[in-house]
């Protein structure tokens, strides 16, 4: 399901008429604007693949742990086995995604949302 659909082909704002009402509300006009569309697309293009990936990675771990416990017991060094390394990798990937998202959002998302919010609060829509 396309949860993060960018506003439906409505990228150029004022040109396309909103579907239901004859006059767009303030929020609908913003939602149809170029700036908002960019924010939405950027947000979706980071968050959707990341969520998909992390869920696949997590459930891969769960499935392997449940259905291939023998593989998890293969020794890597000493008493440390594949299962332990796999688990610690889950921790590492969680930290990595959290850092990556924070840095990405600060660089790529925050300047855009700040600008749009400023304009909205000064009544420019």
């Amino acid at each position: 399901m396309a949860l993060f659909q960018p506003s439906r082909g409505n990228a150029r704002g004022a040109e396309a008429a909103p579907p239901v009402r004859s006059r767009p509300s303030g929020y609908e006009a913003v939602r149809a604007s170029r700036d908002f569309w960019t924010i939405q697309r950027r947000f979706g293009s980071f968050v959707v693949p990341t969520c998909a990936l992390l869920l696949v990675w997590y459930f891969l771990y769960v499935i392997v742990a449940v259905f291939a416990p023998g593989f998890m017991r293969v020794s890597v060094f000493g008493a440390v086995n594949v299962g332990l390394c796999f688990g610690v990798l889950q921790f590492a990937s969680t930290f990595a995604i959290a850092i990556a998202y924070r840095r990405w959002a600060q660089r790529r998302l925050d300047p855009l949302t700040d600008r749009l919010r400023d304009r909205l609060e000064r009544g420019r829509y």
Binding site: R21, E28, V30, R73, G78, A79, T113
Partner: protein
Amino acid sequence: MPQASAAVGKPAINFAIFAFFVLVTLVIAVSAAGKNKSATDYYAGGRDFTGWQNGIAIGGDYLSAASFLGIAGIIALSGYDGFLYSIGFLVGWLLVLLLVSEPLRNTGRFTMADVIDLRLRAVPVRAAAAISTLTVSLFYLLAQMAGAGALVSLLLGVSSTAGQDIVVAVVGLLMIFYVMVGGMKGTTWVQIVKASILAAGAVVTTLWVMSKAGFSLSNLLHHAALASPAGNAVLGPGLEYGVNTVSKFDFISLAVALVLGTAGLPHVLMRLYTVPNAREARRSVVWTIWLVGLFYLCTLVLGFGAMWLVGGKQILGAPGGGDSAVPLLAYHLGGTILLGIVAAVAFATILAVVAGLTITASACFAHDVYASVIRKGDADPSDEVRVARITAVVIGAVAVVGGIYAKGIDVAFLVGLAFAVAASANLPSILYSLFWPRFTQRGALWSIYGGLISSVGLIIFSPVVSGQATAVGAASTSLITNPHIDFAFFPLNNPGIVSIPLAFFLGWLGTVTDRQPADPVRFARMQVRALTGVGAERGTRS
């Protein structure tokens, strides 16, 4: 019932350390509270906490008795399978970070229902969201109260049933005091202090265990496996969950609930409102991920350390079973003083988490049920806070009674159930409200009630409640111990694998069959506000 001799250490010293901790937290709660007047003060601590403060406080809420005592206990008894628990608990935070924290902070005021209500503006939906919030909070509350009884009986030598009940009642009274006096600001400061001590204690004990193992993880695991009757099996998955096909699916069900449940926990979501803006909310979740992650890595060492140094036999024999693994390990390492400190921190944890849950539940009742459903939105804010305070007392009483009955149930297990209910009843409608343009009132009602009824219903008809007799004629290990009463037809202990997809499906089905289409203006407002923060309530100082 535990014997009187089961208390470890010297009860008098334990009691003194306990009393000292409780006193310190009370002073913190009272002095931090200041003037707790407005609803924003009471529910959201004035929205003045910084990202790292709130992040540590959320971590404190999350690292409840279930994590601190429960997970380490499962590792100490079943080895690797406890580690699987902690990974689910941690990974779930990424969904909070990526999908929920910022939009939630941008669109709500005090409760989870605020967000769904902004989108759908319907009293029945707010009522439904309130009912599911209250149910999840009560489930979680019960788990914490159950842990309190076991812990205290271990440490204070309180072995009689009546004595333990009194302890649970004292926990309830203290918690009501925190909430009434401290509000969100007071409980948040208690949480921050407690989480810092908890983290420091975990790191020190972990290093201590590691030093005994020559700072070699391999050595530690090797010793632990030698000490366990199961041998090397404890180092891999499957000891607890790999017994048969049913238990394997039970584990998958639990894993689904753990990873999706965090983003639906009302007391965690409510904390996101205590910061001035969405950016600080994001920062707090990143802090929480660090704190929770590092803490769980410590519990891995603590759990295997307890398996090695204390041994499963002694842990199982102690009151509270697995939950006593860490306190016993502390006693083994540092004697009475370290035991007293670890136990006092654990006790403070229970108090603080219970207080946080009570604030959430009372805010939900006052803000969602009283102000919006009963008074139709024209309640005076000071009236609302008064109702919240009264509700806190009622919830405290309910928690005490529930805690007395829930004594002896595995804490981590109860929390797993709370996660399943949260993921089924709350998460679908939050995500649909935020991101799905077509979502309607009917979809929301179907998904909330469908998720709530299916998850709670499946728990009632699962082996958790009835029919888990291990042998003919023996007492059942379910809630209903009479082996002749058996109405369980759902084979899994955790309902998540059925109820969570069902709730998402019902939300979709209710929406597409709704004759009343979604209002595009509301969705536009929701999305614009969620992504930009326009119109969000700021902190009182910024």
